[in-house]
């Protein structure tokens, strides 16, 4: 398996992807690098000359660093939450022999089909100070005062978890289904307890799915724009809303490009490290 010579078929298979990404992604984004190094003069537009001020500001200013840390923290928390909630669901659905299995899977897909903007509006109606959730809580006597569920970490966490839970479940479902039930049964026949079967057979075999789902959800959370804009509001900003602000409110494309490029680099680094770690864990297991 350790053939190290050039593989022409592989390169041919990768050609369409490379062309697409080069032409429609790398090229235009590369065009933004010079823009990110230019000064910006409010009221006049993009200036002449070169400067690193936008990058320096993004990496040293307390406000920007806080937003960056918050974004990554949100990404990690949502990923963990969707994994914890979604894995059992995916497992149950994958192993279910019920005739309703397909319909249940469809129900998982359903919220994804609802327009993102309108879904977020649904959450606003539920989480607002006088929204349905608070009404129920007060009505049931659980709290006296409405709980602040919007424009903070909690509201955003709930909204993003809701939106990306189907993603995690579907990815896990696809992978768990490919694990033959016989393997589990075999382990059980050999005397392993249910917990043992799960921990030592199913879990490792579904690792690619866990990795794929986690990466997807993390990336999507970190780059989400519409939901943080509406559920986080101006008080709770994340990196993507800051970039939106620079690009589409202040027309400061240099600062916006710098922030976007920086953010992408950081997240890609994290992803690469995570994938390397997972690979090591996989190899070691």
């Amino acid at each position: 398996m350790a053939e190290r010579r050039q593989d022409p078929t592989a390169l041919l298979l990768l050609l369409p992807l490379s062309l697409l990404l080069l032409a429609a992604f790398v090229l235009p984004v590369a065009g933004l690098v010079p823009t990110s190094l230019r000064p910006y003069i409010a009221g006049r537009g993009i200036g002449e000359g070169w400067t690193l001020q936008h990058y320096v500001l993004a990496l040293t200013d307390a406000f920007y660093l806080e937003v960056l840390a918050r974004t990554i923290g949100l990404g990690l928390t949502v990923t963990m939450l969707t994994l914890l909630i979604g894995y059992p669901l995916a497992y149950i659905l994958a192993r279910s022999t019920s005739p309703f299995r397909h319909w249940l899977t469809l129900l998982v897909i359903f919220p994804m089909l609802l327009n993102l903007v309108v879904r977020t509006f649904g959450w606003i109606a539920l989480l607002a100070r006088r929204g349905l959730v608070n009404q129920w809580l007060i009505g049931l006597g659980i709290t006296d005062e409405p709980i602040r569920l919007m424009f903070n970490f909690t509201g955003l966490l709930i909204g993003l978890t809701h939106i990306f839970l189907p993603v995690m479940v579907l990815v896990l479902l696809a992978v768990i289904q490919n694990i033959p039930v016989d393997v589990e049964d075999a382990a059980a026949t050999l005397g392993a307890s249910r917990v043992n079967v799960f921990a030592n057979v199913v879990l490792p075999m579904s690792a690619p799915g866990i990795l794929a789902g986690s990466i997807l959800v993390f990336v999507l959370t970190v780059s989400a724009l519409v939901t943080p804009r509406l559920l986080g509001g101006p008080t709770y900003k994340v990196v993507s809303t800051l970039v939106y602000e620079q690009f589409l409110q202040l027309l400061n494309w240099p600062a916006g490009s710098a922030l976007a490029l920086l953010m992408t680099a950081i997240v890609l680094l994290l992803l690469w490290l995570g994938a390397r770690l997972a690979r090591r864990w996989e190899a070691g297991a």
Partner: protein
């Protein structure tokens, strides 16, 4: 065993309830007699549904979005599956790096991609073209396909294909007849994500929609600025209905057991 079954059932019901909650809220809101989006709805009317179904702009936007999403999904599936196959089954230097880099269109802010592409397209004289939009949508959907097919392929035994080849099949037919069917769940998941991402996308599309091809999500998003009336909720509910029916029919004809 019964208790476990009940527990599983309860868990599924709970999570599905959580997932359906905003959906229910929005569907309810689409019936409100008020001219603004409010939940719980006040009164019941089908007025908004009527308005949406009569509006040529909404219908045109839906058509554009559907064809765009279909085209992007097909392209993403083809390109993405080929690439995943190469990454898993063939020797490619820096595999992990490539797999991570491929995610970058999802990490990079969509609206910045949109602005950058508009600059490029304008210089090339293709600003606002359907092809331009199609390329952009493929860029943001192909990472999904690669992720899900990578996960599927990783779990498949490479020897199955080799066995087919030993039995006389060509590489290509081995792939088509052995690997591809086993990839179905990964392809289905990836294809679904791709379609939904394209159909729902605002940040990239908002700058690349030409004069003739406003997409549905862009239309809804820009409507927010100037007053959200329940027709937005109505069209979303209609889409859910239509999609639900399509899925139902697909289940009857093709059978989901082949995909899930």
């Amino acid at each position: 065993m019964k208790a476990r079954g009940l527990l599983s059932g309860a868990y599924v019901a709970l999570v599905l309830g959580f997932l359906m909650l905003p959906v229910a809220v929005v569907v309810l809101a689409s019936f409100s007699t008020t001219s603004f989006l409010t939940i719980p709805p006040q009164g019941v009317t089908l007025r908004w549904y009527g308005r949406v179904l009569e509006s040529p702009e909404y219908l045109h936007a839906i058509r554009v979005s559907l064809s765009l999403a279909a085209a992007a999904t097909v392209g993403a599936l083809a390109i993405g599956t080929a690439a995943s196959y190469a990454l898993v089954r063939r020797v490619v230097p820096g595999r992990t790096l490539v797999a991570s880099l491929v995610m970058s269109p999802l990490v990079f802010p969509g609206l910045v991609i949109g602005v950058a592409l508009l600059q490029l397209y304008a210089a090339l004289g293709m600003a606002g073209s359907f092809v331009g939009l199609w390329l952009a949508h493929m860029v943001i959907t192909v990472p999904y396909v690669i992720r899900t097919t990578l996960a599927s392929l990783a779990g498949l035994d490479a020897e199955l294909e080799d066995a087919a080849c030993t039995l006389g099949a060509t590489r290509l037919s081995a792939f088509m007849l052995v690997t591809l069917p086993l990839l179905r769940p990964g392809l289905a998941a990836g294809g679904l994500f791709a379609f939904i991402t394209s159909f729902d996308n605002v940040p990239v599309s908002i700058f690349l929609t030409g004069v003739a091809s406003t997409t549905l999500p862009v239309k809804i998003f820009t409507a927010i600025e100037f007053g959200v009336d329940p027709s937005v909720a109505a069209i979303s509910s209609l889409l859910i209905l239509a999609t639900g029916l399509t899925l139902l029919l697909a289940e009857r004809w093709i059978g989901f057991s082949r995909f899930t």
